[in-house]
């Protein structure tokens, strides 16, 4: 794997040095966190993107031209993402960009793609500002606030009234909490307490003692699998048996592996439905496992989706980027592993929220939240 990555990067660098003509291949750029604290998600994202490119190339590429993925590590940091984006645009002359990274780095990169008029498809970073950068930026993920609202609805569907929020203190967690708090009153859900934790925290003993004394009916806990795994495990170990609702950050087999038996019954609002009938979804799940020998997670599915959308758009324009590509993506309907997607005027996706439950050491469909009003992403008007 790493050698392949190295080879790609070296080729990219050499191509840059010796000025290989740009028409030989269609270049798509991607920024992912390959080093630093977010490296695990970066790897998933990159695997997803590579799979999308490999799929497309196997089917003949774009007008017979091969697609090349130019990969830069952004360490999930704005400081690294900005030069990476500039380099993609200017040196590598990519026709489209994909963000396989977190919000901080994506927010730094998006205005640069916008300014250069290079369409930029954002996979899973959920900060509202991302698409506000302009009309060349698209997002395939459900925004944090939207998912939070879905979480509130799910809580009431489960018939639970008194909820404790355990919020990951970063933009992802805060956006989720904001959405949840916004929608909770509508569904008669009462937030009896909220706690915050940091992304490096793995020990939640003190927090859990307090949660226990709050005696909630349900816990809405934001996080990534690496924080949620220990959190859910420790919640259960402390004898707290009430349902836990998580989000797409949980959506990885690693979550089940880490939380172990404690993960059983955890609910997750996400974009990927493993029990979907959709052939696209099933094909993706199968191919991903074949390519990486691991189960796909939400990050991989989203980045696969984002990359595929860029490729689909390019197919329509015959490999041309710029405004043509923007329009093609804007107006297209895309069949993806996370459902049929269209973009609204702010280039956010309209889609249902999937609820998955951990059952028998795997994610399975629990329900689908389909509520166009509640789940409406922000539009230009708003």
């Amino acid at each position: 794997m790493n050698h392949k990555k190295l080879a790609v990067a070296v080729t990219a660098a050499l191509a840059m040095q010796f000025g290989v003509p740009a028409w030989a291949e269609v270049k798509i750029g991607i920024n992912v966190p390959l080093t630093g604290f977010a490296a695990a998600d970066g790897k998933s994202a990159l695997d997803g993107a590579k799979l999308a490119v490999a799929d497309a190339n196997a089917k003949g590429g774009i007008n017979g031209e091969k697609i090349e993925l130019v990969i830069y590590d952004d360490q999930a940091s704005p400081k690294e993402a900005a030069p990476a984006a500039t380099k993609l645009i200017e040196k590598d002359k990519v026709v489209a960009g994909v963000s396989g990274s977190y919000s901080a780095s994506t927010r730094a990169a998006a205005p640069l793609f916008q300014a250069a008029k290079v369409p930029y498809v954002v996979a899973y970073s959920i900060h509202p500002d991302v698409t506000l950068a302009g009309n060349y930026v698209f997002r395939t993920a459900t925004m944090g606030e939207v998912q939070g609202r879905a979480g509130a609805k799910l809580s009431s569907t489960l018939g639970k009234k008194n909820v404790v929020l355990i919020t990951l203190k970063n933009d992802f967690g805060q956006a989720l909490a904001a959405g949840y708090k916004e929608a909770a009153p509508k569904f008669g859900v009462k937030i009896i307490n909220e706690y915050e934790y940091g992304i490096r925290d793995r020990q939640f003993g003190a927090l859990i003692s307090k949660v226990k004394s709050d005696n909630p009916e349900l816990i809405y806990a934001s996080g990534y699998y690496f924080t949620a795994g220990p959190l859910v495990n420790q919640l259960r170990a402390a004898g707290i048996t009430v349902p836990v609702i998580g989000q797409e950050g949980y959506d990885s087999e690693k979550f089940i592996e880490i939380a172990g038996a404690a993960s059983e019954g955890t609910l997750v609002t996400t974009s990927l439905d493993r029990d979907s009938d959709s052939p696209v979804t099933q094909a993706f799940l199968k191919e991903f496992r074949a390519a990486t020998n691991a189960g796909a997670d939400m990050v991989a599915a989203s980045t696969f989706t984002a990359t595929s959308i860029a490729i689909e758009g390019l197919k329509k324009t015959g490999g041309k980027g710029g405004e043509a590509l923007r329009k093609a993506i804007e107006t297209g309907t895309f069949s993806t592993p996370i459902g049929k997607l269209t973009f609204n005027d702010l280039h956010e996706v309209n889609k249902d929220v999937q609820v998955q439950i951990v059952k028998g050491k795997a994610f399975h469909r629990h329900s689908v939240i389909s509520d166009p009003v509640l789940l409406a992403p922000p539009t230009k008007a708003k």
């Binding site: 790493n2 990555k5 190295l6 990067a9 070296v10 660098a13 390959l34 080093t35 630093g36 990969i71 830069y72 590590d73 360490q75 940091s77 704005p78 400081k79 690294e80 900005a82 030069p83 990476a84 500039t86 380099k87 645009i89 200017e90 040196k91 919000s103 901080a104 927010r107 730094a108 205005p111 900060h127 500002d129 506000l132 203190k169 970063n170 933009d171 967690g173 805060q174 956006a175």
Partner: protein
């Protein structure tokens, strides 16, 4: 050209930032493991002001003022604790800054501040402006070295008790070093905010503090030229290292270690050793 311009801007800001720490640590001998906090103070001050409609050029002195004022407060800590204790105290200041900003909704909390209004300068002009600021900081550093303040600083760095019995008000000079250094860091922060147009608490954390300290130490602590060169090189190293992709931090960390292990005086000493081998051969 945009890419080169962007890199050059990054370099200039890093040089400015590293020189600001060099004033405190290199010249005056007060180690700081939390210097990124002042970059952050400058960036947030400038960012908030710009969003409030204050013109870019006016945000700069204000950012310097706020950062410098906070710097003096932290400087008071240096009067109370020394050496390793000071290192850890300043590290704590860094964590405290990030921790506080995180919880301030007014400062964008965890989400940070984005869409900072443009300076109105073109990228090229902004780059030239940043380079000019870095050059000014380098000149200031060189001047401080040569004036009486620099002499007092290096004496304090070596033996502050003896400086005291020479009738010199050590605390005031230390505070001055902190004020100057942190104000320059504030300026770097203001430029940083304008360059990236997006700031978030994590950009000013421990890692950034360590990075800037390593720039100073690798350059050769106290050496203006050495620090300038090392900050310029180290700041774009990760971008150059894109070629080695996933190995880049490994190489970065390794280089840092090897530099200290085999040339503890940093690049300045390394260069000296290469060009004046006899001077070292004697030892």
């Amino acid at each position: 050209m945009e890419y080169e311009i962007s890199l050059a801007t990054t370099m200039a800001i890093s040089v400015l930032f590293a020189l600001s720490l060099n004033l405190i640590t290199g010249f005056c001998g007060q180690i700081s493991l939390g210097h990124a906090a002042f970059l952050g103070v400058g960036a947030y001050t400038a960012g908030m002001l710009a969003k409030a409609g204050v013109p870019f050029l006016l945000t700069l002195p204000l950012a310097m003022l706020v950062a410098g004022a906070l710097g003096v407060i932290v400087g008071f800590a240096s009067l109370r604790v020394r050496a390793d204790f000071l290192a850890i105290t300043t590290m704590g200041v860094g964590f405290l800054f990030v921790g506080i900003v995180r919880q301030q909704d007014a400062l964008g909390g965890e989400m940070g501040i984005s869409a900072i209004p443009d300076s109105g300068m073109s990228k090229l002009v902004f780059m030239l402006f940043a380079v000019a600021m870095a050059a000014a900081a380098a000149l200031l550093s060189a001047y401080v070295r040569r004036c009486w303040m620099g002499r007092v600083f290096s004496a304090i760095a070596e033996d502050e008790d003896t400086v005291r019995v020479m009738g010199i008000d050590v605390p005031r000079f230390k505070l001055t070093a902190f004020a100057l250094g942190t104000a320059l860091a504030g300026l770097a922060g203001a430029l940083y905010a304008q360059h990236l147009k997006f700031i978030a608490p994590d950009s000013f954390g421990f890692i950034e503090s360590i990075t800037v300290l390593s720039m100073v130490v690798v350059g050769g602590i106290g050496s203006v030229i050495g620090v300038t060169v090392s900050a310029a090189v180290l700041s774009v190293l990760p971008s150059w290292f894109q070629v080695i992709g996933t190995y880049k931090l490994l190489v970065y960390g390794g280089l840092l270690f090897l530099m200290m292990r085999f040339s503890p005086g940093g690049m300045a000493a390394l260069v000296k050793r290469i060009f004046h081998p006899d001077r070292w051969g004697a030892k």
